[in-house]
């Protein structure tokens, strides 16, 4: 069984290698090859899962060391895998959703010239993401972490001929560097504190280290999570990342990669549990982001950007739950999985709509599509019901638990966090209803595209609808399946641990309140977009709306504070470099050259001068020797 873990990572890696190096011969077969290898990886995951189910809860973890990676003196870093229930969950999510999205891409990218490369990148992403969640030490995790960053960069900028896509890729890369810096600092601190990178010794002995040091480590890990998972203050890249092809948005920027931060925090739970100040920072980040993302999602007219805001907000829920400690870890991961289903489904639905509408993304130019794209409508609708937390669907179970856990934090903090989570649920209901109404209901507001043609919406091909249907099943049933008899809780508890929260309000009250805000959110949206016709061009809107359209001024803030500040810093450094450093260097060179020229003149070619110099030298030599004795 252990050997299969390596193969799990190797299959997509092989796919990436073959597809990226294979040349034009693979242009036709490449997409199917990539999809096949993703499916192979999924199959291996299922086999391992079945094997794991056969064992008792505590003995399920598998460890395998593939080879010694960096043996230096007494120090060792290995390429080793650790497969436990937590990583198993991720493996199934990544390979399962990944395979579906590969399949979807076969249809979606059918007319793209560079689709072979696209599938190569997708495979590369799968390999890196699997490495990230399977690594048994932080150093190898870092390799996967950077690998998914690279794949994300390549895929956001896949249509690099569009300047906006190239810029978005660069932006994502740069913002992620900040987070990655946090991770590398955290790893260095871990190493200086514990003398190893491996999870087991670090997490077992976490409490041995001082709280100050642990807080520092945890904050750096949080910074890393903020970068990868688009949390405030490093959230600005996710909206622009929607420039990538829609399957990429679904797989990387909704279902899997952006949740890596949640994985990191959950995996390092022992560190966070021992650093309460850092946990406060985590829940703050989570609560702020869940509102931030939701507000942005309300104002966007671009369907993908609205969904991106929603992703940010939903991950905020997960981060919030993870920051609550053992009370929340299980629910964070559970929401992560259900979100993986319904958000991927929503994105694929959005892609399907765009496919039928000549790549139009402005929802104000949609309308009335339910008749033309019935499968998309139904699957998207189920995803919609799941995300707003309609009773019985996936989101209902997972989100409800998080809100409950937030209240259970206790004290003022608990009220604030619970209130924020509840408010977020209301806004979610509002903006998702808005998306639904604008897209599938109401008047047709279709506009001619750049070539002057009106769109002819049509249902997408099978390769695209099948994944959507499968994901819709997940959106509907996953939550219930996980929650009946606490299946998911029992599955994950041996790894993350669990404590029952003691909420000041009863579970029933919380559920009732959630239902209430849901209805309010839907009602407002209906009042605004369902009852009245929607203008094709967006009205000016209130101050808040305008700010939200500009992503709550995040780019303006970054520009003023970071870009300007950075430019000033760079300019002054360049100035110092030019005048001081170069001055010293060039001055030294010039003075050496000048000295050389002068000393060269001593070499005048006359033997008599040479003899004098020798004589003088001998005199000095003797004098110096005698002087040494005298001293």
């Amino acid at each position: 069984m252990e050997n299969l873990i390596g193969l799990l990572v190797l299959a997509p890696l092989l796919g990436a290698g073959v597809l990226l190096c294979g040349g034009r011969r693979l242009d036709r077969s490449g997409p199917w090859l990539g999809t096949l290898l993703a499916a192979v990886s999924f199959a291996l995951g299922v086999v391992l899962f079945a094997d794991m189910l056969g064992k008792g809860g505590e003995e399920r973890a598998l460890d395998v060391t593939v080879f010694q990676w960096v043996p230096v003196g007494g120090f060792r870093a290995d390429v080793g895998f650790h497969l436990d229930q937590l990583s198993m969950t991720f493996v199934l999510l990544i390979t399962g959703v990944g395979s579906l999205i590969h399949l979807y891409s076969v249809g979606y990218m059918a007319h793209d010239e560079r689709k072979r490369r696209f599938f190569g990148y997708l495979n590369l992403f799968l390999a890196a993401m699997l490495l990230l969640v399977l690594a048994d030490n932080y150093l190898l995790l870092y390799v996967g972490w950077e690998g998914v960053g690279l794949a994300s960069y390549l895929l956001i900028g896949f249509w690099q001929h569009k300047p906006s896509a190239a810029t978005a890729a660069k932006k994502a890369f740069l913002v992620n560097r900040v987070g990655d810096m946090g991770l590398s600092i955290a790893i260095m601190l871990l190493f200086t504190t514990f003398g190893t990178f491996a999870f087991d010794p670090v997490l077992d002995r976490a409490t041995d280290a001082g709280e100050g040091k642990l807080t520092a480590i945890a904050l750096m890990l949080l910074l890393a999570a903020c970068g990868k998972s688009a949390q405030v203050p490093l959230q600005s890249w996710l909206g622009d990342a929607m420039e990538g092809p829609t399957p990429v948005s679904a797989l990387i920027h909704a279902a899997t990669m952006v949740t890596a931060g949640v994985y990191l925090i959950t995996r390092s739970g022992a560190v966070f549990d021992a650093a309460p100040d850092a946990q406060t920072a985590v829940v703050t980040v989570g609560a702020v982001t869940l509102l931030f993302g939701a507000i942005v999602g309300c104002a966007k007219d671009d369907i993908k950007k609205a969904l991106a805001g929603s992703t940010m907000s939903q991950i905020g829920y997960m981060i919030l739950a993870a920051g609550l400690g053992p009370v929340g870890y299980v629910f964070a991961i559970m929401h992560l999985v259900t979100h993986g289903f319904f958000k991927a489904g929503l994105f694929l639905g959005a892609g399907s709509v765009m496919h039928g509408m000549n790549d139009e993304v402005d929802m104000r130019r949609y309308g009335g599509l339910r008749k033309y794209m019935p499968v998309t409508f139904v699957t998207f609708g189920l995803g919609y019901l799941a995300i707003i937390g309609f009773p019985g669907l996936s989101g209902f179970f997972s989100k409800d638990k998080i809100i409950e856990a937030a209240f259970a934090k206790g004290g003022t903090e608990g009220w604030i966090l619970g209130g924020a989570a509840l408010l977020g649920a209301a806004i979610t209901a509002y903006y998702m209803t808005r998306v639904m109404l604008l897209t599938f209901f109401g008047e047709k507001r279709w506009q001619p595209d750049a070539n002057g043609e009106l769109p002819h919406p049509h249902e997408s091909p099978r390769t695209m609808t099948i994944p959507m249907v499968v994901l819709a099943f997940g959106s509907v049933f996953a939550g219930g399946l996980f929650s009946i008899n606490d299946t998911f809780l029992k599955w994950l508890e041996p790894v993350t641990g669990h404590e029952e929260g003691h909420s000041p309000v009863s579970a029933l009250t919380v559920t009732a309140a959630t239902m209430l805000v849901l209805v309010i959110g839907v009602a407002i949206a209906w009042a605004q977009y369902g009852r009245r016709p929607v203008p094709v061009t967006a009205p000016r809107g209130s101050l808040l709306t305008r700010a939200a359209r500009r992503d709550l001024l995040q780019d303006d803030f970054n520009h003023v504070v970071l870009v300007r500040g950075g430019e000033h810093l760079t300019r002054s450094l360049v100035y110092v470099d030019h005048t001081l450093v170069d001055g010293v260097v060039n001055g030294t060179a010039a003075s050496v050259g000048g000295l050389s020229g002068r000393m060269r003149k001593l070499q005048n070619g006359y033997a008599r001068s040479y003899a004098v110099s020798m004589f003088g030298g001998a005199a000095v030599l003797i004098a110096a020797t005698l002087l040494m004795r005298a001293v």
């Binding site: 020229g597 000393m599 001998a618 030599l621």
Partner: protein, 550 residues
């Protein structure tokens, strides 16, 4: 002791010991490397005298190569026989040491000379004169440059095959020089190897006036420095009453007092010791080209025929530093606190002057000359360490450096235009575009000079600086690194010039050499890379050879 002392009394106390003169006891087997080389030199003269001109070239080349190889085999045999370690002692009545450093240096000198002889024998580079192949040496050394006699000699296709016996004599002297265990042997060896070199320097086929000028300068200054050295020997004798290294060392350490009542007034007078020691040191520093006794180096390196320059730059330096090491480690260790600061100063000045003045050089041979001065400074840093590691690092450096130097000068012989070798740097512009192999080879040597890792230059420099730092000469190491940085500039500048400049219209051509020069260059590159990539075996070898016999 008693035996050796009584023999020395033969030289030093002839006044009162006439009654018994024992036949000197000579260990011929242990002196065989030197004897083979000198014997072959004598044979070479007979060849010149009795063989017809047309077979002399082949006979001399063969004889020289065989002699050098046989002498090297003898060195190896002696080392294998334990003379480098357990059986090390002073042979020939205490005049010549047979020990680790001596054998290591003799082996190095012999190998380097053998490779150098390949370049001496090269006859493909210069266009044939009147249908006869010629080498780098004058048709007839005695003919006046540009005169009638010279034209006749050229027309007759003469070549100076005397260079081979001259080289052998020089090598013979160099073999004795680092092994000399008393001051008189040291002086004799110095003259034995210097005089043939003066002659060799004057024998260039092209630019004869420059060549003769260089020979005269070298001779005048060499004689001047020999006088200093000899005066130092006299003073040291006055101090100790003996010229043997061990005898002087004993007096310095206060062990034995007195041999000769006639010298009672001066024996043990420290002024004599210090002045005499300084003068002998000066003579040796002249030979290795240390500042301020370096001024002959650029002129002589430039004027001498390039094969001779390569031989001189490599082998003389090995012999000179060998003698310097023995003097400082055997004779003057008791005076360490007196000579160390002075040698520090010499090393620092040598490194800096060599590196700085090289920056503005425009002739590749002069550039290499200044580079050799800087390298003398680096080696001095290892000499000053006064630890066993210092000795072995210097031994390693000498072996590594001599092959790099020889290789570099061999490449210089290849780049030619109508006037012979094109040594002006401006003519080397763009050489890498037209002759990538030649330029790349030269680049390897330059990188080794600069001490870039994976070349022998790095391993050597690292060993020397490490020994110096451990021996408490930290400031010396700092100056050494700074000088290396300055030196890297002009080495890399040549590489940039060769590879990144446009070739000149009337640029030089690269002559296609015979197997002789090719193999010399190939050996140079191979040694440079092997010592750079896997230096440990040779470092260990030098480490085992690092103990002087007393």
């Amino acid at each position: 002791m008693s035996h050796a002392a009584s023999v020395h009394s033969l030289w030093t106390m002839s006044a009162d010991a006439p009654q018994k003169i024992p036949a000197p006891h000579i260990e011929y087997a242990q002196l065989s490397p030197t004897l083979i080389v000198l014997g072959a030199a004598v044979l070479g003269i007979l060849v010149e005298a009795f063989l017809p001109r047309r077979v002399r070239y082949a006979a001399q080349t063969l004889l020289t190569c065989v002699a050098l190889a046989a002498a090297f085999a003898a060195v190896v045999a002696l080392a294998a026989g334990g003379y480098a370690t357990g059986k090390a002692h002073a042979a020939a009545m205490g005049a010549v040491a047979v020990d680790g450093p001596a054998l290591f240096l003799q082996g190095t000198i012999l190998l380097v000379s053998l490779v150098a002889v390949f370049t001496f024998a090269e006859r493909r580079l210069d266009p044939a004169a009147h249908g006869r192949p010629v080498d780098s040496f004058a048709a007839q050394g005695a003919a006046v440059p540009g005169g009638r006699a010279e034209q006749d000699a050229v027309k007759a296709g003469f070549t100076t095959t005397e260079v081979f016996p001259l080289v052998l004599f020089a090598v013979g002297g160099m073999l004795v020089f680092p092994a000399a265990d008393d001051l008189l042997t040291l002086f004799v060896a110095l003259e034995v190897f210097s005089l043939p070199l003066y002659v060799l320097c004057a024998l260039a086929r092209r630019k004869r006036l420059l060549s003769q000028e260089s020979a005269v300068k070298y001779f005048l200054l060499g004689a001047f420095s020999s006088a200093f050295l000899l005066f130092g020997v006299a003073l040291l004798y006055g101090y100790a009453g003996t010229v043997t290294y061990s005898g002087i060392a004993d007096v310095v350490s206060g062990g034995v007092r007195t041999l000769d009542p006639a010298l009672a007034a001066t024996t043990g007078n420290d002024a004599l010791l210090l002045i005499g020691g300084a003068l002998v040191l000066m003579g040796l520093l002249f030979k290795v080209g240390a500042v301020p006794f370096h001024m002959w180096t650029p002129d002589v390196y430039q004027g001498a025929p390039t094969p001779v320059t390569g031989f001189m730059a490599a082998a003389t330096k090995v012999a000179g530093f060998g003698a310097l090491l023995r003097l400082l480690y055997v004779v003057l260790p008791g005076l360490r606190w007196d000579w160390r600061p002075v040698m520090w100063g010499v090393a620092i000045v040598t490194m800096l002057v060599g590196a700085i003045v090289a920056v503005t050089q425009t002739d590749v041979k002069r550039l290499l000359a200044y580079s050799s001065i800087a390298h003398a400074g680096f080696i001095l840093a290892g000499v000053v360490a006064t630890t066993p590691d210092g000795v072995s690092s210097v031994l390693f450096y000498l072996g590594a450096y001599s092959f790099v130097t020889l290789g570099a000068f061999s490449v210089v012989t290849l780049v030619r235009d109508a006037g012979g070798e094109a040594t002006h740097l401006s003519k080397w512009a763009g050489l890498g575009r037209r002759s990538p192999l030649t330029a790349a080879t030269f680049a390897v040597f330059l990188l080794a000079f600069a001490g870039i890792p994976l070349t022998s230059g790095f391993a050597g420099k690292f060993a020397v600086f490490k020994a110096a730092a451990q021996g408490g000469a930290g400031p010396l190491v700092i100056v050494g690194v700074v000088s290396s940085a300055i030196a890297a500039f002009f080495y890399v500048r040549v590489i940039v010039l060769m590879f990144f400049s446009e070739p000149k219209e009337d640029g030089p051509t690269v002559a296609v050499p015979s197997a002789l020069t090719s193999s010399a260059i190939a050996i140079g590159v191979a040694v440079t890379l092997v010592l750079g990539v896997a230096p440990q075996y040779f470092l260990d070898l030098a480490g085992q050879a690092g103990v002087f016999v007393r």
